[in-house]
């Protein structure tokens, strides 16, 4: 199996550290007038997105270009999916064009893992169903580490639709490897008890105030209605019980930061005031996304 990046779970702590350190090297570049390197000149990256995505796809595309690579983006609607071609056949066709890596997002958990068994090309997972979104967890870690010395001992609250969230799973794996304390919070129907077995140091609560108390980091998740087969909670009262409001932040550590993988829904999972709050780092996450993905591309095909 070619070495791509399928998930955080199988990465060693040292590998994560080296990606995060390399991403730090790339951070200053983002604000320079000349932003392009030639590290990956002549390399070709295919972004294959079977699910709607603006930020992740754009971020990977920009990251590839800033590394000097060529990037082609394909969305499912424009591909042969609609012609009934199987996933394996589509990927084999793309692989025959000899890209150096395929960045892939797919609505089915495990789709990139399944493909990596048959494909000669390294796959970078840009989100698979409800499973993992490794570059999101890496850019989240980079963003936290821009404001804290270490992840160890931090209390991180992840709040929202945990059951359907690949962002939550990747973050749990990453944070647990560094010894953070993780509190997962959401409506009971979106918070299976088995989540405590994902990694060590994971606690569950359905009470948002308990989750936020003394938190160093609050990660809000989008409510993923598209992944729910039925209404697992009454949508009308979601914000009342699980929406983050400014007054909640008094419970957290004074320097607590607020994160969100985007796209945000003001008034659904967080209030508009929280989104614009000075310690909200949502746009820093977006910015770090490029540096982290540059580091990942370099690691996979450099």
């Amino acid at each position: 199996m070619p070495a791509g990046l399928l998930g955080i779970e199988e990465l060693r702590r040292s590998e994560i550290e080296s990606i995060l350190a390399r991403a730090k090297d790339f951070q200053p570049l983002q604000s320079q007038s000349l932003k392009k390197l030639d590290t990956l000149r002549g390399k070709m990256i295919v972004n294959l997105f079977y699910e709607a995505s603006t930020r992740t796809r754009t971020s990977f595309e920009i990251a590839a270009k800033r590394m000097g690579a060529d990037a082609v983006s394909i969305t499912a609607a424009a591909s042969s999916v609609s012609k009934g071609e199987s996933l394996v056949d589509t990927l084999n066709t793309l692989a025959a064009m000899r890209p150096d890596a395929i960045v892939m997002r797919h609505a089915a958990s495990g789709a990139p893992h399944f493909l990596s068994r048959y494909l000669p090309t390294p796959i970078i997972n840009a989100g698979d169903g409800m499973h993992e979104h490794p570059t999101q967890a890496l850019l989240d870690a980079r963003t936290i580490l821009d404001r804290r010395d270490r992840l160890e001992g931090l209390r991180v609250a992840i709040i929202g639709d945990i059951a359907h969230s690949r962002v939550a799973r990747s973050n749990v794996h990453l944070l647990a490897k560094f010894g953070a304390e993780i509190v997962l919070c959401g409506p009971a129907s979106l918070l299976p008890q088995e989540l405590t077995q994902l990694a060590s140091g994971v606690h569950l609560t359905t009470d948002i105030t308990e989750a936020i108390r003394d938190a160093d980091v609050i990660m809000m998740l989008r409510v993923q209605l598209e992944r729910q087969h039925e209404a697992a909670f009454p949508a009308s009262e979601y914000f009342q019980f699980y929406g983050l409001r400014l007054e909640h932040l008094d419970l957290a550590k004074p320097d607590c930061i607020v994160m969100h993988p985007g796209p945000i829904n003001r008034g659904r999972e967080l209030s508009s005031e929280v989104a614009d709050f000075q310690r909200s780092v949502i746009l820093n996450q977006v910015e770090n996304g490029i540096a982290v993905r540059m580091a990942v591309l370099e690691r996979v095909i450099g």
């Binding site: 958990s109 495990g110 789709a111 399944f114 169903g129 409800m130 087969h229």
Partner: protein, 425 residues
């Protein structure tokens, strides 16, 4: 032409036989079981060191014909059965069209008569199109050769319809077999609901979806008095409920599959569709409960739920792959390895689970070596090593989680109606 199977250890639970003996077959029937038989002109099969048992019956097989011949046919499936030591198999009705009429039942019986290597007994649908609404022509299917009714794979959700089905089944004397699954609870699920489904981001099929349906069906079985059989039992609670119903004296039986007594969800490599079936591989407690249920006698039969799917169907995103694995060729070896070798059950008990057990549910007039019976014989051994290579399978499909597994012991030869239809090469 006579066939003499010499010097094997003959295990025939129906007559309580377990001794080294010869088995003489004449004109397709068992002519005698005794030591040192020497009839003139008989073909001789030397079974020294082997076990000679009544032909094994697999009461839960998907032969895919008519309608899905790319995955299996009555001919190919029956050859795989023979290679697994089975002499009789029951074909589930979820074909295309569904076997919900005497016409389809007759088609299967006729095709099997011309093409099958082993005896094929169709199971008819409970409802038309297995849609769960209107009862199928149960009496007519029985008259055409159906030996049981089941909406396997698409369980009857409407309790009123199930009640009526059981009432008819009782009057016609055919058992009702249910794939017990509350479809609302299991909707969208792809594997057992537990820590691994949560870890892998796959939707779960909770054990409760099976437990609830088993409970409902047992209540209806008591209400109607119908002979009721739980297909592929897989949970601890379901096993306890079946044991309770049997203690109460209800005409209730159940079967267990080799994969449910051999594997748990923890054996499954992430997103490997050769481990995807319904009911799913469950947790460790459930697997233990299945093994204990077999040992305690709660389980009446081992059945494979052989469910072939073409390679392209299984080579997709996990959630898109159909449910089911093939199992005819590995069932006997897995039973030896997982049940007999560890001392969970005796060899005699294992033979029961493949012969008198399913016979007691289906009344096929088989499953014994008593003189005059149809000469179906399974000859197997426990002392040779072999490796299952799914690419050599006689099934048209390759979806087995046991590919590459090393086994000790397995079928050696299969005799159907007096003729050797398969022999280990």
């Amino acid at each position: 032409m006579a066939l003499l199977i010499k010097n094997g250890r003959v295990i025939d639970p129906a007559s309580g036989t377990d001794r080294v003996s010869d088995v003489l077959i004449e004109e397709g029937r068992i002519a005698g079981v005794a030591p040192d038989l020497s009839p003139a002109g008989a073909e001789i099969f030397d079974a020294s060191g082997m076990i000679v048992a009544p032909g094994f019956i697999d009461m839960h097989v998907h032969l895919r014909e008519p309608g899905f011949e790319h995955a299996e046919t009555i001919e190919s499936g029956s050859r795989a059965a023979a290679a697994g030591g089975f002499t009789s198999i029951c074909s589930m009705p979820n074909t295309k069209p569904v076997n919900d009429s005497a016409t389809v039942t007759s088609y299967i019986v006729e095709t099997a008569r011309r093409r099958a290597a082993v005896n094929v007994f169709p199971i008819g649908a409970i409802t038309k199109g297995s849609a769960g609404e209107e009862l199928a022509a149960i009496g007519a299917m029985k008259a055409a050769g159906a030996v049981a009714i089941s909406d396997d794979g698409r369980p009857v959700m409407n309790s009123r319809v199930m009640r009526r089905a059981m009432e008819f089944a009782r009057s016609y004397g055919v058992p009702v077999i249910d794939h017990c699954e509350d479809l609302n609870l299991s909707a969208g699920g792809d594997m057992h609901e537990g820590s691994l489904s949560v870890r892998w981001g796959l939707r779960g099929i909770p054990s409760a979806s099976e437990d609830i349906m088993v409970a409902r069906d047992l209540v209806l079985a008591e209400l109607t008095g119908a002979p009721f059989h739980v297909a592929h039992i897989s949970t601890q609670n379901a096993m306890a409920m079946v044991a309770f119903a049997r203690q109460k004296g209800l005409p209730v039986t159940c079967e267990a599959t080799p994969h449910h007594f051999s594997l748990t969800d923890a054996h499954m490599p992430a997103y490997d569709s050769n481990y995807k079936m319904k009911p799913p591989l469950r947790g460790g407690c459930d697997r233990s409960a299945v093994v204990e249920g077999i040992a305690a006698g709660t389980v009446t039969a081992i059945a494979t739920d052989h469910a072939p799917h073409a390679g392209s169907e299984k080579m997709q995103e996990f959630e898109r792959c159909p449910f089911g694995i093939i199992g005819l060729e590995t069932a006997l070896a897995l039973s030896l390895e997982e049940l007999v070798l560890p001392g969970k059950i005796t060899l005699n008990r294992m033979v029961e689970l493949f012969t008198t057990g399913p016979e007691s549910v289906l009344h096929l007039g088989r499953g014994t070596l008593s003189p005059g019976s149809p000469a179906d014989v399974t000859i197997f051994a426990t002392d040779f090593d072999w490796t299952y290579d799914v690419n050599q399978s006689l099934s048209r499909s390759r979806n087995s989680p046991f590919d590459g597994r090393h086994f000790r012991g397995g079928p050696v030869a299969t005799v159907v109606n007096g003729g050797i239809v398969w022999q280990r090469s």
